[in-house]
Symmetry: C2
Subunit: 370 residues, 2 copies
């Protein structure tokens, strides 16, 4: 594979296979040029594919209502993966005044998957919602809810479960305990909730997800079609972003179980710097070799961090070019990226502070209003 | 097996096995004599076993609160099996002023098992509730609800599903689609609902069921113990009645698919008479033989109908004795029982008419109040 430009770098994983096998459509230039503006992930081809995104593009153009649907499992603080999704939510909301965000606090999933009792999820939920606000969510056009306290979603979970066989479930999710299959049903309910009669009925819905979440999307689209006679569902659209690795480099998923390789939005700037300085890079064996051959940004966790999270295109291009040309060694590069990221965190955490109380009120209202 | 008296007649099925294998306790004379009064089913040993019923007896004696929990799948009108359970509910409510009935309209089960959409259940629900009222329910001490609109039950269904394996579920319910397993979880939620904090927390609960429902009871008791640390659940108690056959006789279950063998509370008295006159009896091949040897009430669907549903002990005893002594032939016996049952229906349906509107208001409030 040839690395053509700083933005195609994440093609090292075989996303083309997903496009061929599962029918995900390529995010084409034709679609991109119709959008009012592009965020970092769209600009840099980190968002590589979609299903039915043209339906959303049309809604934007025609100033028609659409929903942006997403959620968070409140089992931990936001890591960089959660940040990517959150920024996608915010971007998709900003594309039109007619967009409304639906955000599920997936406390049922936190229970089934991690054994966290519903009431224990609430602290994480406050922190997660504070992040979403700080990242730019417009609360006036957002419906935030707890899965366990949203009866429409709970009920639809039961509705959609009818007739789903063990074979189907195992082929999508593997062999799991009952609670995990029920969680999958709740997520179907989540994704279709914006189209519930109480929210004005059928409408285009866009779900921004990491590509690993596509099985949920496929199942939901199948069920939306199955129940289209009754509910007139518009099959939910999706956009897929490529997954950021952990700081250990290619093939390593971000995991809270390995905190040193996973940056969170609550890491102190100093702690984040240390993590970044310990990250896996695309450097050569020696400084001499690196100067001669250039580095390998395509396998470098530090370059990927910059690519995903540093907004300045020129800066990222500079890092890429200098690395490829052997003009930049890993030590100084780590130092610079760590500095940039620490500065982001410092500013971000300052702003987040003021949003914690707002988030707490939102969650308290959800519990009290029940 | 010797038939000792008119009330031991239903021992023809091996209920002793259930007692031995599954640990159901025998309904002893010692317990019966502690009850303020006995209804027909208790008097006639149709209620043959229980789990923890002594907990309820104690609550009655001490004038302490307890709950009577049951429900109906609103997929058809009440047949005689539903009537038995309903009369048990009413009886257990009448035993103490401190008893409160919880009655689930199992619309989720009607959907998962029979494909009846939630909103289509409502007509049956009205009819079912009208029957329950006509059979004597005191509405002032009753909480009637729709499963699909009781968020506490919906939520608990998800709660209790955590960790339940396919092996466990298949051993209890056989291989079923996901919706049926989820229905089982809803039923666990139903049975524990009276102990929800919103209803005053832990309390003795009695569930009157046909013995075929014991797997639900066992699973619920297991889960009540599993979550006892958090909710302090009192494991629900149960009383078991022997199942009435269809009019086809021993081994035949009442089924709506075979309406001629299944009496419902909406059958016209004339229709009911015809069904009874076509029932399977314990008669001998010829009238001569019958006069000589006597009939076999222990395998007679007509005698069982009298035993379960004709309240006059002396009349039932007379039928039994005359049959055994060859003094009563099947034709005249059917005629008499049909007459008695038709009279019951005539009177019953007259009273039920006035309860239909009350029931309709109850169901409408459930839907509107949501």
């Amino acid at each position: 594979m040839r690395i053509l430009d700083p933005w195609s770098i994440t093609d090292v994983e075989d996303y083309n296979r997903l496009i061929e096998v599962f029918g995900i459509e390529v995010m084409s230039e034709d679609i991109l040029k119709q959008l009012p503006f592009l965020n970092r992930y769209f600009r840099r081809k980190i968002v590589f594919g979609h299903r039915d995104f043209q339906v959303i593009v049309k809604a934007i153009k025609n100033s028609e209502e659409y929903a942006v649907m997403s959620g968070i499992k409140p089992s931990s603080i936001y890591h960089l993966g959660s940040k990517i999704t959150a920024e996608q939510i915010v971007y998709l909301q900003q594309l039109s005044k007619k967009a409304r965000v639906f955000y599920a606090i997936a406390d049922i999933e936190a229970w089934e998957d991690n054994g966290i009792p519903f009431e224990k999820s609430l602290e994480y939920a406050v922190d997660n919602v504070a992040d979403l606000i700080t990242l730019g969510l417009d609360l006036k056009r957002a419906y935030i809810y707890l899965q366990s306290r949203e009866p429409r979603v709970l009920r639809w979970g039961y509705l959609f479960a009818r007739g789903l066989t063990r074979n189907l479930l195992e082929s999508i999710y593997g062999e799991k305990h009952l609670g995990m299959y029920m969680t999958a049903m709740v997520q179907v309910g989540d994704i279709l909730l914006p189209q519930h009669p109480d929210f004005g009925g059928p409408k285009p819905t866009i779900v921004p997800v990491g590509v690993d979440q596509d099985p949920h999307i496929r199942l939901t689209r199948d069920l939306a079609r199955k129940y289209s006679g009754k509910f007139k569902f518009v099959p939910p659209a999706s956009v897929y972003h490529k997954l950021q690795w952990s700081l250990k480099g290619p093939g390593h998923k971000m995991s809270k179980r390995d905190p040193m390789s996973c940056l969170t939005l609550n890491d102190s700037p100093e702690k984040a710097s240390i993590k970044i300085r310990n990250a896996f890079t695309g450097g050569r064996e020696t400084a001499e070799l690196q100067k001669k051959l250039g580095g390998k940004p395509e396998v470098c966790a530090v370059y990927q961090l910059a690519l995903y999270h540093i907004d300045d295109d020129e800066k990222v291009r500079q890092i890429f070019e200098e690395c490829k040309q052997g003009l930049r060694l890993c030590g100084e590069c780590k130092h610079e990226v760590a500095e940039l990221f620490a500065n982001f965190l410092r500013n971000y955490q300052h702003r987040k502070k003021t949003n914690i109380e707002r988030a707490r009120r939102i969650i308290e209202d959800l519990v009290a209003g029940y």
